[in-house]
């Protein structure tokens, strides 16, 4: 293990299960246990679970919390307790600081912000920097929470069984409720990052370990970050650092629907200008002929060979059996059906612009 890597409460469990470990976002994380393909298949057809304890939990509360969240968050802060909304934090120039989930807690003026592991410190600093004039408390509790994502068509049945709570089944997509495990608070959230139905279970570090072992006994397949990436990719979901970044705005990433320009928020004017003038670059989906795999950083070309973009994520899709990628390309070449090419090492392979949602998600309504 490399020095200075952080670990999650489940680290020993991963090692005991024989996982291949690798650094991710500063944490020593499991990439796969058996095979990425098998784990991918388990989530699409049955139930898999991921250790996502590295994700950040930042609590925001205070008399101005709702007004403040709406000031930093591109989407509308959820108004009803138990509701969750996806959106972004932006820089003034429209570049993306992070994408995140905002949970509206039971108590008025209380929110939970769930952010990417790699961005916890950056987000916390950004949130503090934009809190001037707001009476709010911003509390980074990331170290005190573990998180397990239970995902797949079998997740509901297992969640009801393992949690012993039938209300897990009646929970709608992007809703959550409060429960407890091991004498501490647990959050049961119907969310995920795989394109399948499922739950994200936030609990204390100790309860997370107990829950993981209980889920293992219930037959849930432990899944590493390898298939987490193939699953989210097929479902057309962006990964911060690849399809969203300091230099890629949500509008450029095709996520404009999560940015409400009819309210004021940090970065709003930059996005409005991008919408009015048209963006210069866009994230697109590409379908490549044959088995060629386009990896992040590979050049995207016109059929004539002019460089017009770069691949951000690419796989031979396990569920669809096709070679697919996301790429950031000049807006002039981003229309569906545009013929392009990707250069893989020494050769170029023809491809065509397609919709990014390669796989139709099966979310609970």
């Amino acid at each position: 293990m490399e020095e200075n890597l952080l670990i999650t409460p489940l680290h020993a469990s991963h090692v005991a299960l024989g996982a291949k470990m690798s650094p991710f976002a500063g944490f020593d994380m499991p990439i796969q246990y058996s095979s990425i393909l098998n784990e991918h298949e388990a989530v699409r057809t049955a139930a898999g679970m991921f250790d996502v304890s590295h994700m950040g939990e930042i609590f925001v509360s205070g008399p101005d919390a709702e007004r403040y969240v709406n000031h930093v968050f591109t989407n509308f802060a959820p108004t009803e307790p138990g509701k969750i909304v996806y959106g972004m934090l932006l820089k003034e120039d429209g570049g993306t600081v992070d994408d995140l989930l905002v949970y509206r807690e039971a108590e008025p003026q209380h929110y939970l912000l769930v952010v990417n592991a790699a961005n916890i410190a950056k987000d916390f600093a950004h949130l503090k920097a934009h809190a001037g004039g707001f009476d709010v408390k911003i509390d980074n509790q990331s170290e005190h929470w573990g998180q397990i994502a239970l995902q797949g068509p079998g997740a509901e049945k297992i969640a009801v069984e393992v949690l012993g709570e039938t209300k897990a089944a009646s929970l709608g997509f992007y809703e959550f409720y409060d429960s407890s495990r091991g004498g501490k608070r647990m959050i049961v959230s119907r969310t995920g990052y795989t394109g399948e139905d499922g739950f994200e279970l936030y609990a204390s570090p100790e309860a997370t370990v107990e829950l993981w072992n209980t889920l293992l006994k219930a037959g849930v397949v432990p899944c590493g970050l390898g298939c987490r990436d193939t699953l989210r990719f097929e479902a057309g979901l962006p990964l911060y650092g690849d399809e969203l970044s300091d230099h890629i705005s949500p509008v450029e990433a095709g996520l404009g629907m999560f940015c409400k320009l009819d309210k004021e928020f940090v970065g709003r004017d930059a996005l409005a200008a991008q919408k009015a003038e048209g963006v210069k670059q866009k994230v697109v989906g590409l379908e490549i002929e044959g088995k060629a795999v386009a990896r992040a950083g590979y050049p995207v070309l016109t059929p004539e060979g002019a460089e017009v973009g770069v691949v951000t994520t690419g796989y031979h899709s396990p569920s669809l059996g096709k070679s697919l990628c996301f790429a950031l390309v000049d807006a002039a070449h981003a229309a569906l059906g545009t013929p392009l090419a990707v250069r893989v090492r020494t050769r170029s392979f023809p491809c065509v612009v397609v919709k990014k949602r390669f796989y139709q998600p099966n979310y609970k309504k």
Binding site: G226, V293, H316, T346
Partner: protein
């Protein structure tokens, strides 16, 4: 524990060589396929010649790509076209499925490779 097959020669970049007269059949070791995981594409460009220590193609797995290095110098006389449609053969039986056949121009280069016992010790490190 990765299998190491007797009778083959191995490179430090985990290719194996099976020598039949002037021909070198080149594949990847069990250790290499285990490290890569599920292989989805064997990318072998149309090369006439390969040089010892230089790339002759790459393997793509779900996880990552990995360059292939030729353990010998010579003329590429054949490519295993079975792998075009069934790259997973390299996962299933890496020693039964060679990738390219090279007509060697300098068989003395084989002396730089490891035998099965030496390779076993090498990957155990």
């Amino acid at each position: 524990m990765s299998k190491v097959q007797e009778g083959l020669l191995y490179s430090e970049s985990h290719e194996w060589v099976r020598v039949e007269g002037p021909n070198a059949f080149i594949g990847i070791s069990d250790f290499a396929q285990e490290e890569m995981g599920d292989i989805t594409w064997v990318d072998i460009p149309d090369l006439d010649n390969v040089m010892k220590g230089e790339e002759f193609g790459a393997l793509e797995s779900v996880k990552a790509s990995s360059d292939l290095y030729s353990p010998v110098t010579g003329t590429v006389s054949e490519r295993n076209t079975d792998l075009e449609d069934a790259p997973e053969l390299l996962n299933e039986d890496p020693y039964a499925n060679w990738i390219i056949r090279v007509h060697m121009s300098d068989p003395s280069e084989l002396e730089d490779l490891m035998d099965a016992a030496a390779y076993e010790a090498f990957i155990a490190k």
